[in-house]
């Protein structure tokens, strides 16, 4: 195996980590959700690259094509993308409600308010 064959994976990993960092380190909820999306999308790329065959083509039957890439990861990722957008929608809706209820969507600012016991 050559170093090159890892290169694809490592780029994906770097992207993944950027997204993950955004999720846990950022206080802003919109950014958190964007980070989540970034994180997930990178995983999708990892998944799809599992199905790639060098020299293959899109798995739609045509004449003259011998090698097709594996369709299964594509299906998985399709489903996962849909799940991702569903989460984004719900997360953003929650952010809207939090903005209304608290007047901010900065998670850091809410921490104190949150941990205060109610008495």
């Amino acid at each position: 195996m050559t170093l090159l064959s890892f290169f694809n994976y490592w780029v994906v990993i770097i992207l993944m980590m950027v997204g993950f960092y955004c999720v846990i380190a950022r206080g802003n909820m919109v950014k958190k959700i964007m980070g989540l999306n970034l994180f997930q999308t990178s995983v999708f790329i990892l998944f799809v690259s599992a199905g790639k065959i060098v020299g293959g083509s899109t798995p739609i039957l045509r004449d003259g094509v011998e090698v097709y890439s594996n369709p299964l990861p594509h299906v998985i990722v399709l489903t996962a993308i849909v799940v991702g957008v569903a989460i984004t929608a719900v997360g953003l809706a929650l952010a809207v409600r939090i903005q209304e209820a608290y007047g901010t969507i900065e998670d850091d600012h809410l921490r104190d308010d949150f941990d205060e016991e109610d008495d």
Partner: protein, 178 residues
């Protein structure tokens, strides 16, 4: 993602989605590319923008680096890199993924159902219950957003519920009947 302007961040995010859609095409995943473009660049961006009309456009400055978060991320990254060392070579035709279940679809989907787009065949027939689940995920998201955003906005949402003194016993009785 060091952009404080969330609008700009949203735009960057849309561009990233488009780029990855391109990447998907390169990886022979036409369907995925189409979806990513429609969703990432389209739908998600619209929603982010819609939220930004409601909330502050600029992120609050973050004081310092979050070392804990950074270390968590680095550990995860290290684990991922460690894992990749034993992953099959990228793009090779003899990877396990290319020899076990995948080829069955490539070889048989046309015979089974006469559909040239194998992705559609796998999606809607071989792994149909997944797709049904996906439809229900979307439906759940709709219900969730509906539940969250169809109540009338209130500013006085209590931090502590019902701080006012407990109601009298008489009014309780009425409530029970209601």
């Amino acid at each position: 993602m060091r952009v404080r302007d969330l609008f700009a961040a949203g735009m960057l995010f849309a561009i990233y989605s488009l780029v990855s859609a391109g990447l998907f095409t390169v990886l022979d995943a036409g369907d995925v590319a189409l979806t990513e473009a429609a969703v990432g660049a389209g739908l998600s961006t619209i929603l982010v923008l819609a939220v930004l009309t409601l909330a502050r456009r600029y992120e609050h400055p973050v004081g310092s680096h979050n070392w804990l978060a950074l270390s968590v991320v680095l550990v995860t990254g290290a684990l991922l890199v460690y894992a990749t060392l034993d992953l099959p070579e990228f793009g090779a035709a003899d990877n396990p993924a290319q020899v076990h279940v995948g080829p069955f679809y490539i070889e048989n989907s046309y015979r089974d159902m006469g559909v040239p787009n194998m992705v559609a065949a796998v999606l809607a027939s071989y792994r149909s219950i997944d797709t049904m689940g996906e439809a229900f995920v979307i439906f759940a998201a709709a219900l969730a957003v509906f539940a969250l955003l169809s109540v009338r906005p209130r500013r006085d949402m209590p931090g502590v519920r019902r701080r006012h003194p407990p109601r009298s016993a008489a009014s309780k009785g009425e409530e029970d009947e209601a």
